[in-house]
Symmetry: C2
Subunit: 413 residues, 2 copies
């Protein structure tokens, strides 16, 4: 088999894509504490507004914003303090023009109020009288009912791999059970007369079975349930029995090894016999990874992977893992590292503190763009929209559009 | 508490660093199939040379390289075929000048041979006579005994998080049990009179407990064993009992919430009462995350995290996860996304195939550099040294030093 008989990677990917069934992993329901890393099987909508009531984001006083217009250090606006709201309690309080109510951070906004003046912009001249030293805009220091997530709005799409952020959004919406895809069942077979178990000391030209371990680890990382079928000799009937069992018990089968040409021919023939059709391809114009085989047995994709561990890992990463994602219905892929990205807009920051800016990552013209996710910092939806975090250092007064920033990635875009 | 009373993030990090015990997670031994994602407790050395014998990397003929010098299409060198090596079998064959032995890929090199001529650079004029059409350099198409990993050489350092690549290297060396750190035990407490369980419908100003879920998910992702102690009211004695239990049963405790100033004071007082010393800090010049508390109770670090879910997640990511890594002895951190990096040297590639180049990532002058990991593609050690893979597309004849390439990251540098 020469490189000239082999097909390029892009061709292999498109042949695999057109051979695969749409989805293989069935849905199942799991508790929220068990949902981390699982892939949603359905779109998930909020049953309630989040927050369920308008709330203050600061300690201060609930007011009618128009009462405060024109207020200043020299010209305070005088209001009457009529009530106090306590954290975690509903309030019957309501205000009309000229009145104010004491508010804790997170407290429920009284009826009639449309803004909260921060404590530091007020003075109390006596128990009942409040002096407002700065005007409050409508909505200032308030998160309104449903501003984070609207009741009925889909906030997690089917095919999302659940990270801590989505787990939090589900908790906030009171969703304690989630419909996710079952873990994809993958069978792994090592072949080759020269291959011996890890605990065996190789003699002569024997080598230890590395691929059963690396492939199991890679597929486990990708969220699969892996069954290892051990080491099968280069014998047609034994390999036929193993692949047949693998295909019956799993949704994806990987047979690695068979470094001899004869063993590779066995794999091709067995896939064709069991699948009652030609293999999809045999031989890739890829280094390492040339002796790769792919075929379908019914709805089960079967890969013949190279025996060399580095080649088997490379092809697993480039061809098999995308198949796993597709069969599990995964729409995107997650991460956890640092990348450089170009900021898409100016972001102000107060000197003297570190600001953490949540950003969405967009791959554009060969580089990542970091688009700040706007919204008050208490919003859950900010977490589920963000792909990563940018640190604006303590000494900085902000960042400019076009700046190259370092993003700590929470989710690959 | 104003931002002016708060300490900057860098100061908080260094205060935490100087307060922590060196390591908390104890070592334990696990089987290789269970070792994925675990952190090695000891340096691991190979007991054997890898490969255990010199082997061919191609199909062809084992030769003495000096016999082939000057060979060409028009001036073939004639050798006598004396024997054949079979895959997975040891060989008694040996050659002297003028002789050649038939070799399969991966086969054991016969004594006396120092190179393999590829099949395509030879012709057989008759059963016994080989014509060599191209010279072979000493060592060409051969991986020598111990070239991958030398017996006695440390190939995985203590504090390494085991990825599929290391699992493969361990398998290749016949190491089927690994000494790793036990999962760090982390206790999570939610506090606040306003906080109710996820399955409860909040009334009045109540909010659902989001932090128990997000923090448990983040710590689980970081490899910890998490115990959730549920929701504790803003009551000194109840919180004292919960934190005390948490500290006795875990190696790290996170208490989130207590959005009221009174509740935060409780957390500070409880850490000081149990730890019999002042908290290390209270208040960060960080947004979101200002009301963060840190103190030590004996050898157990205790964090008071903000009640706002986004703030709690941000501080968990920036301060708590680094503590987890330190207490588990983790030396580096792993990943799985795409980044841009600048190639450090020219890399040739044959047009007509996709090449996958393993690279090491180095963060230098504000960008990643991708340093190709050299070595033949069959070497296990290439996998454990590489941080990621660069695809050299099919149509390309290579990449140049200074080119910006996309790296699929397998491990963060």
């Amino acid at each position: 088999m020469d490189f000239f008989d082999c097909i390029p990677l892009a061709k292999a990917t498109s042949l695999i894509d057109s051979s695969l069934p749409e989805l293989t992993a069935e849905p199942e329901e799991v508790g929220l504490m068990q949902a981390l890393g699982r892939i949603t099987a359905v779109d998930i909508a909020a049953g309630v507004d989040l927050p369920p009531f308008s709330r203050s984001t600061v300690d201060g006083y609930a007011v009618l914003s128009r009462d405060t217009f024109g207020a200043g250090e020299g010209v305070p606006v005088m209001l009457t303090v009529t009530d106090e709201v306590f954290m975690g309690q509903s309030t019957e309080a309501s205000i009309v023009s000229g009145q104010a109510v004491i508010m804790p951070t997170g407290g429920m906004l009284p009826a009639g109020a449309d803004a909260v003046v921060m404590l530091e912009h007020t003075e109390r001249s006596d128990h009942e009288t409040l002096l407002v030293l700065k005007p409050a805009a409508p909505g200032e220091n308030v998160v309104t009912k449903g501003e984070d997530i609207k009741a009925g709005a889909m906030f997690i799409a089917a095919g999302t791999k659940l990270t801590p952020a989505e787990i939090g959004a589900l908790a906030a919406c009171g969703i304690d059970k989630v419909k996710v895809r079952q873990r994809l069942k993958v069978g792994i077979i090592s072949t080759g007369d020269e291959v011996v178990d890890v605990s065996t000391v190789p003699v002569g030209g024997q080598v230890r079975d590395v691929n059963s371990y690396t492939l199991a680890a890679m597929l486990t990382e990708a969220g699969c349930h892996v069954t290892s079928y051990g080491i099968i000799k280069d014998n047609y009937d034994e390999l036929l029995a193993a692949v047949s069992k693998g295909v019956n018990e799993n949704q994806l089968v990987l047979a690695s090894g068979g470094s001899s040409v004869g063993a590779r021919d066995h794999t091709v023939q067995i896939i064709e016999e069991l699948g009652r059709q030609k293999v999809v391809f045999h031989g890739l114009a890829v280094k390492p990874g040339k002796p790769t085989i792919f075929g379908m047995v019914g709805r089960v994709p079967v890969f013949g992977l190279p025996g060399h561990p580095v080649a088997a890992m490379t092809i697993c990463q480039m061809l098999v893992i995308p198949v796993v994602k597709r069969l599990q219905g995964l729409k995107a892929l997650k991460a956890g590292c640092k990348i450089s990205a170009r900021l898409t807009r100016n972001c102000a920051s107060a000197p003297g503190r570190d600001d953490f800016l949540r950003v969405k990552l967009i791959w554009l013209e060969g580089e990542y763009r970091a688009e700040p996710v706007l919204g008050k910092s208490g919003l859950i939806s900010v977490m589920t929209q963000a792909d990563g975090v940018v640190q604006v250092p303590e000494g900085s007064s902000g960042l400019y559009a076009g700046d190259v920033v370092t993003v700590e990635v929470m989710r690959e875009a």
